[in-house]
Amino acid sequence: MEIIGLDEEKVKKISSIKKEDDWVLKYRTDSFRKFQKLGMPSFGPEIDLDFSKIIYYKNNEQDDKIQDDWNNVLKPIVDDLDSVGVRESEIHMGGMGVQYESEVIYHSMIREIEEKKVVFTSIERAMKEYPELVQKYFGKIVGNGENKFAALNGAVFSGGSFIYVPPNTKLDRPLQSYFRINSRNMGQFERTLIIVDDNSDLHYIEGCTAPTYSESSLHAAVVEIYVGKNSKCRYSTVQNWANNVYNLVTKRALVDDHGTMEWIDGNIGSKVTMKYPCCMLKGNYSKGTCITISVAGSGQIQDTGARMIHIGKHTKSTILSKSIARNGGNATYRGKALIQKSADHSEADVKCDTLIIDELSKSDTIPFNSCFNETSTLEHEATVSKISEDNLFYMMSRGISKERAMDLIVLGFIEKFREELPMEYAVELNQLIKRNL
């Protein structure tokens, strides 16, 4: 079944397909009205989208039940996922969810994690099984009126993960979700809500690592994360959408006292990416980190960065952005470090490095750094460089081919990012970047 184009009736239809409660339907219709009122973002790249042609909902022929056994998933889908190594990566994870088009089709978790009372399920199921917990946080960290695409997600969201890590729980292995779009003009609007309760620890990996073969698709996700007192959450993602996908994502974490949020964000594919993971450092002594890389090739615009909003006292943030522009690509860093008046004795450190491979490509750095008190420090450092002829010559004089030397220089440039990824992802990232050079 497919829903193409959007009006209020279609929004209600999605809600009825999912048999949702009234509060969810109300949230959807309110979001839809806001979507209609809001204009396109006034900053960043032009977005060449016709909303009337997008498929807002599509389910596969599988029955409604989310499977926990691959044998019950339709064979063509399994084959498709096998081709990109999704099932292979499951052995390294504590739990895994897979979304195909609009619906989550597979979810499983290892027994040790289930025993710790961790909840890892689809957002729809969580709304039915844990309504109070979901309602407490859903739509509170990212409002549905903040931007046009957050509002659109609020209206038509489908799929996505819900994770609840109870207090005093540490997970030894990461949890992973994998998202795949396979149709032309498909819109994927997953909604992720992660709650890491006090004194807990979570590593979550979002995999959009495989290239898709769709055209003019839209991925407009919303991710909300709550990091409790003394807790830590790391959210790693490497997106490699096809070069016809608009990737317009709103990601935000609210961090409580002594909490730590880390965004590890890789952007390799897509036609246009606008993504600025944000940490609201509300608690005293809370920390936020964002390490991001963007690779923009021919026809690609990577408009990425991070936002760190310091509200609590003694808060610390670090943004490390690495951009690579090649073959006429446009890699822009657009970030924000805002130390509010209440955030006494806080520190923010922003570092942006860009590597421009050829004359056709382009990179901008658009920082917005503000500090509204006198006890805090804010540092910003930016570099733009080209591949040095000297370095190339040095390596070639030792028998390394020019192509291999360029690979080594680029991989060295993003070393800090690779260090932060799990081993199997770092290897995959190397391959992706080499393929894109």
């Binding site: 060449d48 924000k336 509010q340 056709l360």
Partner: protein
Amino acid sequence: MEKVDMREARVKIENVKLAQIKMFDVHYGGVTSFAPVSAYTIMVKTDEGWKNFLNPGWELPVFEKTPYTGCNSNGEDTHVFIRRVSGDVQDGPCYVMDFHPITQCVESRYFDRNRLSKEGVVTGEELENYALRTDLFMFDRVSLIQDRNISTMGRTVAEDMKKRTLFMQLMSESEKEKQFQ
């Protein structure tokens, strides 16, 4: 400036920008958007200043976006700063050009990449092709399609006419609202 001449023209990329048609509000101190429909056009810098490539006779004040955004206390971007390029600051429609040249804003497949890298110029024909093929609503595309006598674009004409009517309606409503203020 005639459109036919522009087809043969070769323009440096820094002199071609994508622009939106918006309403300037002096009281608000900026431009307002008509959320249900965004109207675009292409601006070309000539000896007489910036002109609307698709409808050179339609002269409006011209503004340009800066890369800098303003935000709320959550750090969420709420607006982008613009600067005046030409024309008077007054209530009414205006062109708001992008900060980057058009070649940086739209897909490179519309332009000859070899020429772009060697000479840094685009042709009027390429700009017309882009205006005809893009999914963005080009405000004056209908007259371009009629001028070129393209019979296969009936659906685009119908959709554009619908959007054009809605846009004009929103524009007049916005002016009416101002009269009541």
